[in-house]
Symmetry: C2
Amino acid sequence: MAGGIDFLFDFSLVLEGNLRNGEGITTHVMNQGLRRAERAAMTLASRQAAGEIGFPGLPFLEKEARALSRYAAGMRKRFTHLLVLGIGGSALGTKAVYEGVGGEGARKGLRLTVADNVDPDAFFPLLRRLPMKTTAVVAISKSGGTAETNAQLGLAVEGLRRAAGKRWKEHLVLITDPAKGAFRRFADSQGIDSFPVPPNVGGRYSVLSPVGLLPLAAAGVSVERLLAGARWMESTFLGRKGGENPVLAAAAVYSHYLIENVKPVHVWLTYGEGLARVAEWWQQLWAESLGKRRPTGTPVGQTPARAVGVTDQHSQVQLYQDGPADKVFTFVKWMAGRERGNVPASGFAPGAEILGGRPLRDLFDAEFEGTIGALWKAGRPIVRIEVGKRDEAHLGAFLHFWEWVTAIAGECAGIDPFDQPGVEEGKIITRALMGEKGSGKRREEFLRARKNRIPAEIRLADRTPGGPPRRGAVRGLRRGKG
Amino acid sequence: MAGGIDFLFDFSLVLEGNLRNGEGITTHVMNQGLRRAERAAMTLASRQAAGEIGFPGLPFLEKEARALSRYAAGMRKRFTHLLVLGIGGSALGTKAVYEGVGGEGARKGLRLTVADNVDPDAFFPLLRRLPMKTTAVVAISKSGGTAETNAQLGLAVEGLRRAAGKRWKEHLVLITDPAKGAFRRFADSQGIDSFPVPPNVGGRYSVLSPVGLLPLAAAGVSVERLLAGARWMESTFLGRKGGENPVLAAAAVYSHYLIENVKPVHVWLTYGEGLARVAEWWQQLWAESLGKRRPTGTPVGQTPARAVGVTDQHSQVQLYQDGPADKVFTFVKWMAGRERGNVPASGFAPGAEILGGRPLRDLFDAEFEGTIGALWKAGRPIVRIEVGKRDEAHLGAFLHFWEWVTAIAGECAGIDPFDQPGVEEGKIITRALMGEKGSGKRREEFLRARKNRIPAEIRLADRTPGGPPRRGAVRGLRRGKG
């Protein structure tokens, strides 16, 4: 890979020898954890061999990636803008890599907008801003049944029809299951271009499939280098034993704080432009893969929290430092930044002169070290990860690293890191509330339960400018209807 | 207030009668909580009377607000852009209100950029993008000693000098302590315009002081209506008893999950454009006010987590639904959205027809209710807050509401909700690493501790394009130096 890859996984500050307050991991426990991670990796390898798990093979689909690149090059000739319709795993990977490499202006390609909400106050203005005559639309839903993406697609097609008339189909690409679902039928029956989501790759593990690769390639990102970075991480993972293997070491450390010395919260503190979006991608991966019930019914899971350094030092560090010892911390930074500018040498107030005449980066780096140092002193378990720089190869390696770490941690915790049974209930109630046919009974049931609940609300409505609040309907604390 | 104010605080789904799994609050406990909140409010009232706490009085400084508005009107005549330099409480309130009312284009005023980081890869490009000849710079630091804001200011002044020569001072406004600190001395000695931060108002409670009001007024936001909304909430709070008082009811509910049935995580799910930024402001308020040690040494605090509806239903709800019962949820939405557009009636795939021919908002609203319904069914404690609409009066009321709720919850928890002792350690180490004079011993101490720590790191560096990873320096799991 041009420029090579640099990667550091430093778990010094989770070791018992460095954390003498009982929060650290002893050599014995770490070795146990490594063996547990190795066993989990073997289980996953057999699931992979059985065709159940597809994500580890994605980096090797080089031929398919080249075909996607060629298709994307054609899109770049025909359009100026790209609108991606998708939500969750259909959006977060694309956003992470696009912002990770530098966002708008960092690569020559279509101007990318990812629409991952159906908030009318966001989606309608977004549609109005786009020049639909030169906009390509990529709609992504593995099942084809995602309500949000369907609603977005209805509106986008309406816009394309207005802008391009009968040629609207030439603006549209669907990414969906190769054989089934509403999107697949729509693509096949209408003759709309489409790309497949491998059936054994779930949304949050799909960034290196066409789900991420097509939009990214169209936006000018080198998907070949992205895959090369992921292949490098895959071979690193396959080629190293125990404590020398960054994936296994990370899985051992994190599963310790997931299931042994349980920490309800896993905080990422990211230092470097673009990493905040990578953190959002990780947040889905970590929450949705690990937050679930074991077959025994016991819940497991960790709330992923994102903080941006140095900004959130002034917002969250007070809690991290003095609050409950219920967190494990991951600090992430780029090894090499881009900007090298100096702070001017003069004009500083007393006490601030140390800032002048030196790179601004000195301060940024010192705050990274200072925050780690302070949290370490407070006895917090801390992992430190450094990623060479903001380019495709490093992002491919980093994302693939986390996919493996998460999958293995889930396997260690005795849950399936690839399903998401808990999202169905909300969808069912939503569809019932929308009046879906056949949902009559469930809808009645839900509405009845809601009607029967004990109300406790304080409703204030003031129509008198400047005057005291009018007494609204206040109900509360009484059993029965308020 | 033009248009009036609507506000709903609904705590039905934390009541024991609606949550039969032991997670709910009984009438007895709620009444106890209300009394505790009332006592806490009285304690805070005496601290206010003693001049220790300033935030409740800010909404009443109407004369000062009018003066700020006039000054801001002058800025709007001279400039096109406004750059705010500040971090934490000096930035988050401004961002919350600006995005809350609609962000760029929603109000006629200077185009606002808030620089709240010293990441060189963010700050230098930002400076280059701004037309400094017509840019006003507002630098905010209560103490004047914030390292980040000092470094930013050095660079911004350099840019202003290049663009405006000797007239650079006319582009600059400082907001800082009225009497002391480096910013105050700088303003006074150089004859630079300045506005005061009241000494008894801390950063995270300062949005309604000049810290937030000046930038917002310059950006075209009506600070008079913002204050009017806060005054309305203040009089609501002062005029209502116990369970009819939204502030006291909220403080009773949240302090229950903070100190009695302890939930390590407080999740905000926001449904509506602009609310995500308000959530960031709240996140500092909640984390930094409540995350600390009691005088006895016991830690208290709750990790504030932000999720955006409906997007993060596809990222976090799996964890919320099936993961550990360690969270309390607050759902926030605007009562009235702006956009009323319909989804087209035709072209839907089987199963998705219910989406067509009706407002997109129907889906958005149904998902809000559906997610609440599903989490309720899973036995999670849920608060629901609805705020009339995206305007200044509602935001003023909402922010003031949370300032009171947070302060009272902190008082109930036996800690001081206005200090932040835990942020000092990181600053000290940072300054030591930067080579601050007089920090020699602390620096040596920290560097020695760091040198003596047991290393465990996996460092990978690959320079061979496409080949297997070269074996890097791998150290780990051995006591002593690696």
